[in-house]
Each structure stands twice: as C-alpha cells, then as structure tokens.
C-alpha cells in the first residue's frame, strides 16, 4: 500500500477478541488509502474489498473508521456476509465510493448489518446497486429516510417494509419519524408534529429493512426543521412518555449518534438510555424540559458530528460523555440552554478556518457578537489558563527533546496573543516571569530559571504589568470581555 508511518498515524483502529488481535484497520487520510489486516480467513472479502480501493475520499474513510470503532468484529463479519450474498455488490459499492463519496459515506454510516440491500437499492438508478454512479444530487438513501415504523407507543403496523419494498423516490425528502407512515393528515399533530410536517409528502415507505437506525436518523432529520409548537407537542402529548415514547426515541437516537459520530462507548450510551427508561420521574422531567427548549432539540438534531471542527471535537465529545453518565442534565433548563449555545458556536467555529488567528488578535477584535456562548468561555478559559499557569509561581517544564529545542508552550502563548516565542540566547520564552526547565532523562534543572520579556509580550493588553512582566488576568478580562 505504500503507507508511511506518518500517514498511518492519522487514523488507526485496532481490536482484540479474547486477547487475540483480530486485525487492524489503517486508513490514511493524507493519501486516501485503506489497509485492513484481518487474521480471520473467513472474512477475506471485506479485507480484499477495502484493500482494493484506490484513493478514497476522507468522508468515506471517516465513515468506515467510525463503523469499525463501534464494533469492528460486527462490522467486518456482517459486511462480509452481505458481500458474499451479492457478488456484484462489492463492485457496485466500489463504484459509488469512487464516484459519489458523499453517498458512499452515507451508506456506510447507515449500515447496520441488516440493511445493505436496501441501502444499495436506494441509490438512484439502481435496482440492487447502481451500474453507474448516481449524481451528487441523488436523493438521500433509505437510511436517512423516515422510519418505517409508527410512533413509539403507536399500534400502527410498520409500513410495507418487506424486502423488495420500493425505496423513497429520489426527489422525496426524508420524512420523520415518530409518526405514522401515512402522515400528512395532521391526525397526529399533537403527538407527532414532525411527522405532520415532514411527512406531508405522503410517501409511504422508506425502504426495506428499516430498522432502528433508520428510524433514529429519520427522527433527527425531522427534528432539524420542526417548529416550536411541533416540538412542544411531541414532548407533551400522550405519546411522550413510556418505553417507546418520544422521550425514549429521542434519547435512543441521541445516544446512537453519540456512539456513531463521536465514538462514545456503546456501554455508556446503553447506560444513558436505560437510566432514562427506568426512571419515569426523570423521563417526565426531561419531557417537560425538552418541550420548553426547542432550540436544543433542533441544534442537537442538526449538529453534524462528522464535520465538526477537529479542534473542538474533543471538547464536544467530553460534554457528550458527561451527559451519558448523567442524563439528569437533560432535565436541567440551564444545561439545555448552554448546550444549545455551544452547538451554535460549534457550527460557527467549524465554518471558520482562521479562528486561532482571530483568537490571537484578541477576542475583542473578533467582535463580541461572534461568540457569546460557552465556546467563548472556552477560549476565555484557555487564554486565562495559559496566563495563569505562566504567571503562577514555580512554573516548571520538561520537553522530550534536547534543551533549547521545543517551545510549544511559548508558541501557544504567542498564538493566543500572549507573547511567547524565543527568548534570549535561544531559550524558550513563556512570557511569564520565570520558568525552570528540566532535563527529561535526569530530572535535573537546566541552568537558572529563564526570565522572559513579558513586558513586551503583554504590553498590548493595556498595561498592568510589573517589572517581571507579570500581569493581572482580571485586568485583561475585565477590560476586554
């Protein structure tokens, strides 16, 4: 494959079963290449298939890596079975990957081991799979089509969803979940508002084999554009509560997305769902809170985890992880408001490609209107954290290379507009009054603590410095933010 070690560090998924390494997937985004090493000779088709791909779009790589990270064994074995069942499937899928990577990524994301045929059939111009790649504007596959099943708690039978069911027309919009498949009558306007809205087309089927994943994707699709009253109706209606109520549908979809797009562990996601399912009081409190916070619902439904800026992805994942451990947060109005604001900021951040430069110029210069939510607080926190850590006494550092090399902390300070850069005689400058560097092998200090040009570094913040170049965090923050 010609992959260098530098390439493969970008994406790596390994896994073991009973202590034995079953294989590993290497996907190098720099070169767009895959390499799947798999010890199980029973699953050679998937290995050969992935390894035979040429340069692959990063979206497809992300989709495969996400699937492999959820449960590699499951993914490999199920895909193996599907590829064996349809000899032409591998070629068709390969064609889609090469010619319509967005569609391919969507298919891979939605693949749950039971819906391969339906997903392939959903591609425009295909009976079982396209002979030619679909145009970029092809309709969403069945995977993101409306759920095939009626609303939770409803007794309505699932739509005609047996194998061979005609998928949604290429021009149809996904219709919602939670509602009956014959939505459009408005009959369920109270309990299933999104269905009323998105299902207005009257499209009655959503592809064969529609399972829970499709249902959940459909739910999120519908909620993206649901109105306030629709959302309120959804979480206050008679179908809001209960094992299959709308709260549980939302919680399950939310947990699934957390696993799929952020790599939250399945165990944590399951614990989150079970906790809500087993506590009727909590469920009711969450329903009330969700009903009153439609912005949160829409933001969560539309936040694209696959495309979120990697610089804040870790933070978003951490927030999700915390929520998985403490679902009570969903019943806290303040939490939902903060989470909504954070999601909005995350989208703005993702659309900006120069935010660190903007931060470097000072948040004030970005315009206070740009970020007022929690992400603004994060930048503020990072900046003040760096200032505090450098200002605090007895600052110590240790770099893995030789003395004089490596000045990442100084560069970070510089990037944040806090000085940094090289100090006198090539010594690293941290902008604070002093820092003692240590040799990482012996643990011995290098010479004397370095004194740096903090005066100059912080001059542009408007003064407040002393002879050591120290400064008051409060001075800057209160003066600017």
């Amino acid at each position: 494959m010609g992959l260098s070690s530098a390439d493969i560090e970008e994406r790596l998924a390994k896994y073991k079963v009973n202590g034995q390494e079953q294989g590993h997937l290497i996907a190098a985004k720099k070169t767009g290449q895959f390499y799947l090493a798999y010890n199980d000779s029973a699953n050679v088709d998937v290995k050969n298939f992935l390894n035979s791909l040429g340069q692959v779009d990063n979206g497809v790589i992300d989709a495969v890596v996400a699937q492999v990270n959820i449960d590699p064994r499951e993914f490999v074995q199920k895909l193996e079975k599907d590829l064996k069942a349809d000899a032409s499937a591998a070629n068709n899928l390969k064609t889609i990957i090469e010619n319509n990577p967005a569609e391919a990524a969507r298919i891979i994301q939605a693949y749950d081991g039971t819906n391969f045929k339906a997903l392939m059939a959903s591609v425009k111009g295909s009976s079982s799979a396209p002979a030619t790649p679909p145009p970029p504007a092809a309709a969403p596959p069945a995977a993101v089509s409306p759920p095939a099943q009626g609303p939770a708690g409803s007794t309505a039978p699932p739509p005609s969803s047996g194998a061979g069911t005609v998928p949604a027309p290429a021009t149809s919009k996904p219709h919602p979940t939670g509602g009956t498949t014959t939505a459009g009558s408005g009959a369920h306007a109270t309990s299933s508002p999104p269905a009323t809205k998105a299902g207005g087309s009257g499209t009655s089927s959503s592809g064969s084999g529609a399972g829970s994943s499709q249902q959940m994707s459909g739910l999120f699709e519908a909620l993206k554009t649901a109105t306030n009253s629709e959302i309120r109706g959804l979480f206050t209606g008679k179908d809001a509560l209960g094992k299959n109520g709308h709260v549980m549908q939302f919680a399950t979809a939310f947990a699934r997305e957390a696993v799929k797009t952020y790599g939250i562990s399945q165990a944590d996601a399951d614990g989150f769902v079970k906790r809500i399912e087993g506590d009727p009081t909590l469920q009711k409190n969450i329903a009330d809170n969700l009903a009153n916070n439609p912005d949160f619902i829409r933001e969560m439904a539309s936040l694209d985890g696959q495309n979120i800026d990697p610089r804040i992805r870790g933070l978003a994942k951490k927030k999700l992880q915390e929520l998985m451990h403490k679902p009570e947060k969903l019943a806290d109005p303040e939490y939902l408001k903060k989470a909504s604001a954070m999601a909005q900021d995350a989208k703005r951040i993702t659309q900006m490609d120069d935010w660190e430069q903007r931060i470097g110029q000072g948040l004030d210069k970005m315009g206070l209107g740009s970020f007022k939510g929690p992400l603004h607080q994060i930048f503020e926190w990072l900046k003040s954290f760096v200032m505090k850590i450098s200002e605090g006494g007895d600052l110590k550092s240790m770099f893995s290379g030789p003395d004089g090399a490596g000045n990442m902390f100084g560069n970070l300070m510089k990037g944040l507009g806090l000085g940094g850069g090289a100090g006198s005689q090539g010594a690293p400058s941290y902008g604070g009054p002093q820092c003692q560097r240590y040799d990482h092998t012996s643990g011995q200090p290098y010479g004397s603590p370095q004194f740096f040009g903090g005066l100059q570094a912080f001059g542009h913040f408007g003064g407040g410095h002393n002879r050591h170049g120290g400064f008051g965090v409060g001075l800057h923050l209160s003066g600017r933010i």
Partner: protein, 142 residues
Amino acid sequence: MARNTGDTAKSTASDTKVPEGRPIIVDGKRYVISPDAPVLPSIVSGDRDAELVVNENGMAMVLYNKPLPEDIDWVEYDVELALLTFVTYDGKVMGLGMKIHKPFHEGLSKAEEITLVYMENGESLGSIYPAKLIVRKQSVNL
C-alpha cells in the same frame, strides 16, 4: 504492580508501564484501567515530541506536536511509578514517554485536570482538551 515499561523517551507500546489500581469514582464515573488494556505507543514516540508544563498551583498541561491515534478520555498520574498514563475512550492506554521527576510531583499531585494541547508541528494550536486527571498516590509519602 505494573507491567514493565520504562516509560522513557521514544518508548514503544511493548515497553510501556500500565499502572493498575482500584477504581476511583468521581462524579458518578468509574476510573479504572483494565488489566488487559491494549497498550499504544507512548505519546513521545516516533517523531512525536511532548512538553509537560506544571505550576505549583496544580495547573498542568501536556503539549504534543503530532496527533494522537485516539481520543483521550482521562489521564492517570501514578506517583509511585512516576508515570502519566493516558486512557483512550476505548480503554487503551499510552504513556507519556517521559518519567515524571520529583520537581513536578507537588504541582501535579494537586491537579484535577490536565489540559492536552495538540500543537500542529509544534507551532500552531490544533486542539485543546481538558482531561480529568486521576492521581494515584498509593503508599508513597511525598
């Protein structure tokens, strides 16, 4: 008890120590490293360097110049072993690749979080992540 490790610079997966300890529960989350946790190469390995910055008030930061193979869930500081161990969301572990020498003990022992900062090629901010820091003091008297 620990597997060997020599968490020294440029170490590899096979020689990374993995501290083992009793679960520590914080805010409802259970922090414990599985005894058979897969071990990834240390942060300081290959052409990836790292810098540890700590102050006496318990503020700590680890900066590195190449992306990590997996997202970090939390970090453990084992005082006795003088090790920082990074635990991924999948339960895999990776060492820092540098011994935590005594001058860093006091500040790091006070820390509750350690901010992980990826600096692209060591120069520009790539990502930030404040990770929970679990300090295992065991029988060590500082």
